[in-house]
Symmetry: C2
Subunit: 736 residues, 2 copies
């Protein structure tokens, strides 16, 4: 049945004066009575639909999605450019639902606007046991129409900043007068949480710093969180004043549950912003129309059978019918498909002319759109003989390998969390990604075409925004971040989101293990590798010298479906030109120094390889013990090798015990070794060499411990090692 007419409640919204791109372009927008009535029907239908979808399995998050209905109408009907028949249309506006738990909001608009996968039947699979559902509890990038996976709060808003950056950058590189081939907006919905979570607060600083005027963040300001009134944990601040002080345009919408006209007008003003991102503070009522409207109870639970009936009665729908979407509602959105197809056709035509007019740039643009590299990166990787053979910090090797590639290939955007002098990721002639006004304002060079990013001291946003850069269009931008490895603990929630979303990016993590020295235990990672080695779909690669650094980059670049962390030393590490092999790295582990009838296998890892090699020498010279050495830069890659290869490297069932040597917690190495020479405590502030020494990392000490193990094995038989891992380093935990 068609719902009976109820008065809508549109209220004109005051919009303050804003610096706009053009005074000519008008932002005025007004709806006629008939359209207001249609909107009224859509809002009521939409809200009852949400209630039904949550009620069927008695769960989910109805309140937010219902509260935001008018925002959705303003976006999908009157504002965003998108093509339901081709969700991946390159120049579409991007929409990010940072408050991902309200996913029914997005799913339902995808349904109404004609995304063919999102049938009503699919909508009903929300919270069901269907394994082929397109409606998981939070939006997932795998599914059409979803730009990024959201849910962990603060991530989506950061991704949105990255998406807007990507547009700015690509536009600066490729657009020509009359050819705005990259010209989309990014719209992001947030709840209260995304401006409480630190990563969101970092990201909004950067959006303002970069003057991302193509970014609009809309806050579903319903003043309700799980615990009740938002005031319970956020009474101190004036969010509008704060966003203004941070450098954003701010627009208020007072009656966000109904004022579609005001929201559209605000969005038009936002689109005309000359030099700032725009924050639209939309006051809504959570669960509007339900008996628990405005209450935390509307947040994360269904309304109950009676509650849903009451809602429908209030909204003039039949309480005894469920999942009712009238033809008038579908008709309202019926122009979405043709509009999208037209836009796409126009864009295709423009690109065709662009390619004719600018053949070189056009060809490159085409490659970027296809997500391909613009040139052959393999030829740019230095050869083994190009590297110094004297001890070299592997962070320096990182620069030697990475900088020529990223300097040449425009796909890369490389940045650092304020550690440019330490991480060696600057290439000759680099241009910073900056808003060009900064040049006149404070003499800082750079523009949007730049590809070197100063993230400030914001590791979490660095990784989270990079996820947005990578998600803009698969392969178009390959983000490289850099910081001390320890601070990738700050970044971890976003690094994880990249792994979950199969987004390629490379994290250059320098100053690993305890060799970093004087900065002390706060800066010396011990447990962090265990996290990244256990993380699905991520490569943690720890090369031992320059040649292995080359192998690490090749591996990271070849794996286009996952993020990689390349873990590098602050300090000099020995070079092993006769042993180390980039091809070995590409297999995860390989025989580094072979020895027939070896008494023991030493597994050397990364910056600690020198100790393994030295221990081998001592074992031979002092004890006549024959040690072979395996280099083991990446566990996950090794896991993907054949049983035969693994056997060749690890010699399962031989009589020689295997000892891993690494200045980290040993957890996880038990799979590959019988014993470990490792760290069981936090580190210590000492010069790097002394820190190693303090914790027993010394070829002689290691050799002594390994010799004792070999003796034990001779005495007790190799079977004595089964299932009882030995920790050989007695100095690894002197204090803690």
């Amino acid at each position: 049945m068609a719902p009976t007419a109820l008065p809508a409640e549109p209220v004109p919204t005051p919009v303050g004066p804003l610096k706009t791109k053009s005074q000519d372009e008008s932002s005025s927008f007004s709806l006629q009575t008939q359209e207001l009535q249609q909107i009224d029907v859509v809002l009521r239908t939409f809200r009852c639909l949400i209630a039904d979808l949550c009620q069927q399995f008695n769960g989910g998050h109805p309140g937010g999605a219902m509260g935001m209905a008018a925002i959705g109408v303003a976006l999908w009907k009157y504002t965003m450019l998108y093509s339901p028949r081709n969700p991946d249309f390159f120049d579409r506006d991007r929409f990010v639902l940072s408050n991902g738990h309200t996913c029914l909001f997005q799913y339902s608009f995808l349904h109404l606007t004609g995304y063919s996968h999102m049938t009503l039947n699919q909508l009903k699979s929300y919270h069901s046991a269907r394994i082929d559902s397109f409606c998981p509890g939070h939006p997932e990038i795998e599914h059409p129409g979803i730009e990024v996976t959201t849910g962990p709060l603060g991530q989506g808003i950061s991704n949105a900043v990255g998406l807007a950056m990507a547009t700015k950058h690509l536009a600066a590189v490729y657009n020509k007068p009359g050819f705005p081939v990259v010209n989309n907006m990014t719209y992001c919905m947030i709840g209260d949480a995304c401006l409480q979570e630190g990563v969101g607060l970092e990201a909004v600083q950067l959006a303002a710093h970069w003057k991302l005027n193509n970014l609009v963040v809309m806050m579903d300001n319903n003043q309700v969180t799980c615990d009740g009134s938002a005031d319970i944990a956020n009474s101190g601040e004036d969010i509008n004043a704060k966003m203004k002080a941070t450098g954003w345009n701010v627009i208020d919408i007072e009656h966000g549950c109904y004022d579609v006209q005001g929201i559209v007008q605000a969005l038009r003003v936002a689109k005309q912003s000359a030099d700032k991102p725009t924050f639209i503070n939309v006051r809504t009522v959570i669960g509007v129309g339900s008996k628990v409207q405005g209450d935390a109870k509307a947040h994360g639970a269904a309304f109950g059978v009676e509650g849903v009936k009451a809602l429908k009665a209030k909204f003039g729908m039949n309480p005894d019918e469920s999942f009712v979407i009238g033809d008038d509602v579908y008709n309202f959105f019926a122009d979405a498909i043709p509009k999208g197809q037209k836009a796409e056709q126009e864009w295709n035509n423009m690109v065709e002319k662009y390619r004719a007019e600018f053949p070189r740039l056009g060809a490159e643009f085409e490659l970027r759109v296809q997500g391909k590299m613009v040139d052959d990166w393999r030829s740019l990787i230095p050869k083994k003989e190009d590297f110094p053979t004297t001890p070299t910090p592997s962070r320096k090797s990182g620069g030697l390998v990475c900088n020529p590639i990223v300097g040449k290939l425009g796909n890369f955007m490389v940045g650092t969390a304020d550690l440019s002098p330490s991480v060696n990721m600057m290439w000759k002639g680099k241009v910073d990604f900056q808003n060009p006004d900064l040049r006149t304002a404070c003499g800082i060079n750079g523009d949007y075409s730049g590809r070197y990013i100063h993230w400030g001291i914001r590791e979490h946003a660095m990784a989270a925004i990079s996820n947005g850069l990578a998600a803009f269009n698969k392969g178009t931008i390959l983000p490289v971040t850099s910081s001390f490895f320890m601070f990738y603990l700050y970044a971890a929630p976003a690094v994880r989101m990249a792994a979950l979303q199969h987004l390629q990016q490379i994290h250059i993590a320098t100053h690993d293990s305890i060799g970093t020295g004087e900065d002390g235990p706060t800066h010396q990672p011990i447990a962090l590798p265990a996290l990244y080695r256990a993380m699905p779909n991520l490569l943690y690669i720890r090369p031992c010298d320059s040649e292995e650094v080359a192998g690490a980059f090749i591996t990271a670049l070849e794996h286009t479906d996952c993020p990689s962390i390349i873990s590098l030393s602050r300090q000099n590490v020995e070079q092993f030109p006769t042993n180390s092999s980039r091809h070995g790295v590409q297999r995860g582990a390989y025989v580094f120094m072979e020895e027939e009838d070896a008494d023991v296998t030493l597994i050397g890892v990364g910056a600690e390889m020198g100790f393994a090699a030295n221990a081998r020498t001592v074992l031979g010279g002092k004890f006549g013990i024959k040690a072979r050495v395996v280099s083991f830069p990446c566990q996950r890659i090794f896991e993907q090798q054949s049983r035969e290869y693994k056997q060749r490297v690890l010699k399962y069932r031989s009589n020689a015990p295997r000892v891993v040597i690494e200045a980290y917690a040993v957890n996880g190495w038990e799979r590959y070794a019988d014993a470990g020479y490792s760290m069981a405590s936090f580190g210590k502030s000492l010069p790097g060499k002394d820190a190693y020494k303090f914790f027993g990392f010394d070829g002689g000490l290691i050799a002594d411990a390994v010799e004792a193990l070999v003796e034990d094995v001779k005495r007790d038989g190799v079977e004595s090692l089964r299932g009882e891992f030995r920790d050989l380093n007695t100095r690894g935990a002197p204090e803690h």
Copy 2:
């Protein structure tokens, strides 16, 4: 030699009108000419000393410490109450150096004010190889005069919020008219980074929300970071306006390198703030006086021999002498010791009278000062027979165990990151920790005596501020935090800082593994346990039922020297009243179901114990295979047991293989098991039971896989298992 006089550059600082505690208490402060001259000598001496300390080992961070010298004089000479002869004086003002890399700033003032451990010889151990140094590269809590370990940026400012909260809370509970037994201020220095890092931004929101008027944050605003001008990554915002909008008093100091008088005046105004924390924006010049002053080069490197000489010449010191501190400088600070002793004596006298006047409260206060529990918590732990025997979510068991204890014992402060309805940590009659104004302002109850904390959606600040609560005075406050386990990845950098600092706190991490269900892979931790199990000095405890939850709490409470994470299920888990044992938990692992001549040992963990028990039944019934079951809630505790105990549990060298069953990445379990039934991919959005099923967690499927393993062992011999871990779950990685 005494330095020749140079003109100081004090500049009067405009201080805006502020709401003050009392109009009677004057904030005016002026220095006489003679004192200004003394200060001039101190500043010059101090700055040359810093340069010398960095130059000796050609490293360290001189610039910030030099720039902040006048701030230090204002704090240690004219503002802070402290007792160099008793650095732990209970009612001392707390000072936190959140920009911890400038640690020489603090070390040098500790030296000048007479902290006896901080000799000039010790100062010179900065960046040396001395293992007994009190001067590590970042301040460490182990050393006298250091309140918290800082270095990872954003942590210290958050700790400072916790320290100020502790004062507010204890004052509300214990102070009586005429007896301000808890009455200290907290001062925190920050650099540019702490208001870029998200955790710092979360913390300043909360400080304003709680109206912590006893907190002063001073920004060393030198506009220089490692990468150059701070504008390079932070041009968009007006920090003063932003802090005001966040709810802070803001005071500007224009000439922070010299204007001691202005800084002291600002600090006095801050101390009188009625209802806001105070932000003092101090403009300084990094490396002031050096040839690289104002430049990023002054940040993290020594000045070179000639650079130091030039500095000394400029400051009227002898360029050929090093580490010169004249008697006039020592004399300037000579009143610090007697002032501290007097303050301590007065406080002791007050507390003595207080105890006489309020015997019950006084006795309790005494216990709190000693860091003891105010009552016997052991008697408050429910007995096994108190628990339901029907399936129960272990998060519910968590509430059953925790709430009676925390309700009764004032030592506990318990909070949640906006998940009160989910984590079950509210006790009957709880009072929220809130600023009392909130009651009239928006009807939210609570006051500073309250012990239930609404952290908002700020997991990182929750943990970081809790570190400050715990660090206020060892044992006085025991913070309990709660959230979904997945979000302890957001909190991880702060949880790690607690482990590093030996701070006791309990993190209640609910919704663990994949049983959490519909929220999907974003909310299902897979790799996170590997991090926390590898982290030194932290207990990750995963109980399988209510009795084990009791054991987990007992274990966490007994370990007063480290943080614990108690990992709980969202969903119902089977109860094992005849098998589970709190005493077993206290040993990390124990025999859960014994079986003579077992063919296999199943290791069940936490919420997945039910699958282990079920698989055992199927193995016996379907295959005639005898399986014993071990419960393994905590690896770290188990590691501390004797070889004999471990042998009894794990039966090293028996012919029965051991299989661990857990819906996490298996990394690290290889130490205890020969095979694992685990997860190798991220999770999936499905109802909890269906998610388990989708990934093969089902007693029957597990039994089939274990049976195949047992057959393999019978055929190939148990030695075939040595060093080659078996992954038994073929459904653990269907997509990723």
